[in-house]
Point group: C3
Chain length 638, copies 3
Amino acid sequence: MKRTLGTCYYPEHWSREIWEVDARRMAEAGLTWVRIGEFAWSRIEPSRGAYSFDWLDDAISVLGEAGLKVVLSTPTATPPRWMLDRHPEMLAVDVDGRARKFGSRRHYCFSHEGYKAECAQIVAKLAERYGRNPSVAAWQTDNEYGCHDTTLSYSDMARHAFRGWLRAQYPGQGNDGDIEALNKAWGNIFWSMEYNDFDQIDLPNLTVTEPNPSHVLDFRRFSSAQVVAFNKLQADIIRAYSDAPIAHNYMGRITDFDHFAIGDDLDIASWDSYPLGFLEDRIEAAPSYKRAYARQGDPDFQAFHHDLYRAVGKGRWWVMEQQPGPVNWAPYNPEPLPGMVRLWTWEAFAHGAEAVCYFRWRQAPMAQEQMHAGLLRPDSVAAPALAEAEQVYREIADAPEVTSYQSPVALIFDYEADWAWAIQPHGLGASYFDLVFDTYRALRALGLSVDILRQNADFTTYKVILAPGLMHMSDALKGALRASGATVVLGPRSGARDSSMRIPVPLPPAVPGLDVLVSRVESLRPDMQIPLKSGGTITRYHEVLEGDAEVIEETDDGQPAIVSGDCFIYVSGWLDAAAMKRVFGTVCERAGIDVVNMPDGLRRRQTGHEMFWFNYSTAPIDAFGTTFQAASVTREML
Amino acid sequence: MKRTLGTCYYPEHWSREIWEVDARRMAEAGLTWVRIGEFAWSRIEPSRGAYSFDWLDDAISVLGEAGLKVVLSTPTATPPRWMLDRHPEMLAVDVDGRARKFGSRRHYCFSHEGYKAECAQIVAKLAERYGRNPSVAAWQTDNEYGCHDTTLSYSDMARHAFRGWLRAQYPGQGNDGDIEALNKAWGNIFWSMEYNDFDQIDLPNLTVTEPNPSHVLDFRRFSSAQVVAFNKLQADIIRAYSDAPIAHNYMGRITDFDHFAIGDDLDIASWDSYPLGFLEDRIEAAPSYKRAYARQGDPDFQAFHHDLYRAVGKGRWWVMEQQPGPVNWAPYNPEPLPGMVRLWTWEAFAHGAEAVCYFRWRQAPMAQEQMHAGLLRPDSVAAPALAEAEQVYREIADAPEVTSYQSPVALIFDYEADWAWAIQPHGLGASYFDLVFDTYRALRALGLSVDILRQNADFTTYKVILAPGLMHMSDALKGALRASGATVVLGPRSGARDSSMRIPVPLPPAVPGLDVLVSRVESLRPDMQIPLKSGGTITRYHEVLEGDAEVIEETDDGQPAIVSGDCFIYVSGWLDAAAMKRVFGTVCERAGIDVVNMPDGLRRRQTGHEMFWFNYSTAPIDAFGTTFQAASVTREML
Amino acid sequence: MKRTLGTCYYPEHWSREIWEVDARRMAEAGLTWVRIGEFAWSRIEPSRGAYSFDWLDDAISVLGEAGLKVVLSTPTATPPRWMLDRHPEMLAVDVDGRARKFGSRRHYCFSHEGYKAECAQIVAKLAERYGRNPSVAAWQTDNEYGCHDTTLSYSDMARHAFRGWLRAQYPGQGNDGDIEALNKAWGNIFWSMEYNDFDQIDLPNLTVTEPNPSHVLDFRRFSSAQVVAFNKLQADIIRAYSDAPIAHNYMGRITDFDHFAIGDDLDIASWDSYPLGFLEDRIEAAPSYKRAYARQGDPDFQAFHHDLYRAVGKGRWWVMEQQPGPVNWAPYNPEPLPGMVRLWTWEAFAHGAEAVCYFRWRQAPMAQEQMHAGLLRPDSVAAPALAEAEQVYREIADAPEVTSYQSPVALIFDYEADWAWAIQPHGLGASYFDLVFDTYRALRALGLSVDILRQNADFTTYKVILAPGLMHMSDALKGALRASGATVVLGPRSGARDSSMRIPVPLPPAVPGLDVLVSRVESLRPDMQIPLKSGGTITRYHEVLEGDAEVIEETDDGQPAIVSGDCFIYVSGWLDAAAMKRVFGTVCERAGIDVVNMPDGLRRRQTGHEMFWFNYSTAPIDAFGTTFQAASVTREML
């Protein structure tokens, strides 16, 4: 499959007169895909039951005639105002108990059955009408599930649905559920929190002090399941009418629902890549680091998500929205350096993307995102990103097609683990995502191409698998890892909780073949470190180990820091960057994987046929016998 | 007109026995004015409809007999508790949806018609009784509109009134308004936010993510208009009974309503000057700067407001409340240096004040402001400020009268521009007020006396007009500036939005005679700067320019930074202090205005007959052939 | 009385099979006390009126047969979920007006009469059944009153009760109260806040700007009184059935209710000592300081509370919960250094504790506190603290019994003063607790053993009494201090307010025999200091003095800083650590008290027979001719 480009377009924002010109310019720029319809519900159904498809027929026709392929989105992220009159209770409720009002987007609660029925109907109308339209070559469900903190809702509807979900999780006789099973699983005897009936269970917000972590974890699971069900409802309807692949556009660093579970109901995963916005808004780093990459973005953050969504999409994935200039939503919104739009695009292809679409075609002069750049300025003059997109289009013409590449090293990412850490960080700000991302950074600093895996993936093709921070590990997972043939790096907090968020006895990690036990744990102030004899330190989180496993690293004062047994290696804390790079480098080398020492700002990624080098820094880098220009990508055929 | 002094007095706080003594001491200290009545509603109307004027008759009589003139305030900032029983819905509602309860002050929503009717009645009672009283020589409406964030209310009453206001702004057939006109103006097609009816429109709080900026801007305009109407209601009633001038006492750095529009209904503008409180609480500055001026106040902040309220009052303005010692409300409340109360008083006169009144006569031993100093201590012993006031009284005896002075340089300040920046700062914390104030600081550092102007002022008497950050510029304004004969300095963000908060096409600034267009914009991290070739940098906000205007400054990497055409100069970013001083100094010199280099902490101001020098620093300053003593004012006859 | 050890145990958390083993291991470890029952209401009364005592009978029997003594707690801190069905209004309401929901603990409002009646009933049931049980040797009421900010509730019930309380405080004819007396006491004329009736009075939250401080102070007094009444209800019932002593376990740095007033209804005071949690969470200090003591805790914080609760318990006091390892609730939760659990235990004994109980016996594997260490790990293996407890047990065997020791120096702590400072700090973050604690630190740095006293204590046995920051001082207190024979150190803010939170006239401190008057006050930025001629500075808060008292310290610019007269010394500001140590050292020496210069981290405490030295630092300290090992206690017989 050829690598392709695209853009996001809102015909309803523009005068009918310019649609043909827009379409022609898109085609001339080398774009293949045009995503439309995403927020157009108020034009498709201006009032309840009164549909207006003419304009959409027209728009799809104009685009199709220009040779473009349409990705048609369901408009369910933006129900029109009249919907609220029909369903006044459809709004989500925030953790403080306030309804989240109409006037922007994503103003719905995933647990509202009435709204879900409305969604089913509009999706059916669209699928029925356009399911066989030759220009509609792909679908997108909704938009950025979970964005603006919309996964968790504390509404009456959510409470009611949660009780039903719990009854199913703790089944009893008949339909009533087994409340004693729940009490036991949650440990409700602690603080007399025992329930007599499922209808006594409330959502875990506004409690006097922290709620029971088991209660919160179940609420997190329920909330994620509601998103999955919402998406599946749409996907099933579309499939009944269309053979075009179905995608959803995930947003960066949103972890409140299980992306893998949604991916199971999709054909293609996609995500929305805003490197500069993410650097400012969603990455913890020193100001000097943010300053250094302010116009380029973090050198690893996009790559991490590319690898993640390759897994979510089971190999098929896109960038559905690519930042083309300044965005509007970060604390500070600088312009990218010249060359970065091209670099970001190629980086996606290097990680296996089928398509990269720019958000958006023309900068909107009105409403919330008027400060968000497009490929065109509001006056339709080309913005700098358009030329970079056109350059990529010329470059992909004779580049290899999309291929899959088998990495030797894998990193497990698990959404439930992220929830568990968020519920119980133990140390202020300790985040599972950050732990995994730090691990990913270290692997990339060793020049490695990495596969990101879900818990139930096929592990048998890897030499090294890293699985930090998996707070719950099922016996099946432990067994599969042991059977994989790979060296498996665990810890910290691996298997630290059972499936109900309790400490298991025997104590963690309880991995067959690895004779180690976490005797005690502690969280550390940011200014505390525990140095390792071989260099680097343990930071943030530290565990005291017992057992007869082989000690392969010690702390300065002679305590075991990293041990091994069978195929497993256990790391007893959150390593700093130096220690991670050193330790994981050694592990890889012993497993027969070549590693290199990548300079700061330089990263690489391998495909089946190519090696890509990305210089995210503002200066040229001389390394590996080559000069890598600043803000540029270097492609090398293998 | 003679320069005069005064004080704020609350006879109802004190035993009747001491009123005569107080009045005599005021007169002996040289005070002319006594403001009273401000918060006395519960004594004037102890229960609904039961008025008690005897004590007020008595108080006015005592003051009048001592030779003092009374400024009588309407008591509407503090409705008594019984009012709430009559009008339970009168409370404002905060942005989080919570009623703002009784128990302090300003507990009313400007949109509550019932409360407004009550206000009309008490004002009528007062005006009728005292409108011709020879001792009542001026009036004050309410107290510090907008203080404690009270302009914006999210109540049901406000929502109802907002819908009505919108109907009038987007008029249709009959009384219904044209909802399609509103949808178009706001760009509601974006995110399917279109309305079918005005009654669907809610207030723009508690939305899932940011509300539509056009929606917010209209809400801001509406909210300001409600304050204006509230004030006009009172002023009209007073005028029906009295010829005495009407004032309102504005509070420093309150920008949520249009002070000029209120000023149109007043005879005198006045403001409440708390230099030390403002430095701690309302100015963004480095700790070292705040430390340096902790006992003196910011050297430019009072002057800025003096110049602003001279414009609001169309030449007639007072300081209605002047800090006499520590206040109670800032994060830290130190004593002023000896001499500062005199300095602040003279500075007001230097900027054209008719009167300066000290808040308050005697420190209150009870309730919320017991830590607020007065001219007297709670035990009636003179506080240090009293001697400084007496010194000023002796000094004004043979000083010139209040005169007007025509500055050669003007600075436009616009409330709507402040709202627009607040709605869409693009970069965290970027504030229009700060941009204008930074500009003002730079002009003052050049030794200039400055006029502050509203948008529709007469521009023809100036050599240089600065108009930074005016996000919307009407064609009329552009024309008037061009016709003024002055050099006009625009940018950044000048004309960046149309009247509905949309990006105009052609792109900004679209000023006839100036061939420049803002191609792209970006906001910068605080640690990012864009250096200029001639010195100084662009910070916070930066624009990329296109066009054939003459380039008069370039960035270090050769991009146009400041351009000129016709009478206009356009500045493409937020300049730092060094660049502002250098650039504006050059502009002024070319326009034939003399500038000097004022040392840090030294400021000057010219009147028709005098040049004043104010040393805000803690050490003497040798400059211009003179030694300016610390914390002192030097007056020089011209 | 022998010094004893104990632990907190939750038999309901564990399988019945291991109770005997647990009990035997406790006894073997040398423990005397086992506190139980604390959160077990849902097991004692699983549904309304259906009691289940068998398991509790059994548990007490098992413990008693092992030779252990039971402290039986009332379970009222954790009402079961069914209680909420009976009393839906029982939840407290937070300052933002939100009900504080079920799902953790302390979810009740002290003003809910229905809930109080339920508490009376369960307490009566327990007392009746176990009041004469020979194994039940002590009682505990509820758990940690005020923890999680639960003293203040803004519920409808609280409002109703507050009105009733106010009627009693401002009595009028009949039952109606004298509303004019309240208006006058509160100064409600200010801002027209006058009430016509008590039923108009609301709770002082959500006001537009700050509420009247007199209003808040009365609400604070009321709220404290509600806790006292709640506790007394329980204590009175227990006493009707049992002769065993009654305790409550106070939590560190909780000051929202009057601990002395509760102590009047107890036989024993106890507190819950979490040195590492407190250091991170409840102490203001530089990061470097927190880093230095991260594994040891603050060297003075525990001692301060020991001395405080010795006073609250009128000599009889315990540590009811002692941290045995990492806790779960601080921002960071490191392990203590080896030796610290022993050190903390001995420090309690050195200050006169009768018993120290460790929280908890076995780490809970479930629910909110699963990260909280115990003496045993979740797998029942001994955690390190157990060995340290056993060592203390061996050491107390031949150590002296609990004795009382008369300190020569006393420090007054007053809860109302803390509320007054919190209501009116004047300078951001200025806290009475911190002022008193800074004073305590200085005395400890002089090697002194200190008694902490309440306002109405017997002062006659001391040579020096320090009473900083007592914002209200009654005439009786002033007289008692003068009559004590001690040197009494006052200021800043001593007597600064009358009993209604108004500034008194004549101005403060108005202490007979001391001719000084606080003329003016100011709060200072953290970067402002006022140096003293003899060394050290005034920080945060500063007063200007007048009068003929003898000046014993001056500021650098020659103003009186500390004055004396009769037995009194008045300090006109918040001294820094250097000045406090110097000034108080001199005062003590002149009063005939020996002081020494304690090195950082080393502290000492005297009993009737012993001198204890505690090295809180991470390195040995050579001082006083001895080497004090790091993290260790040195005991010396006198």
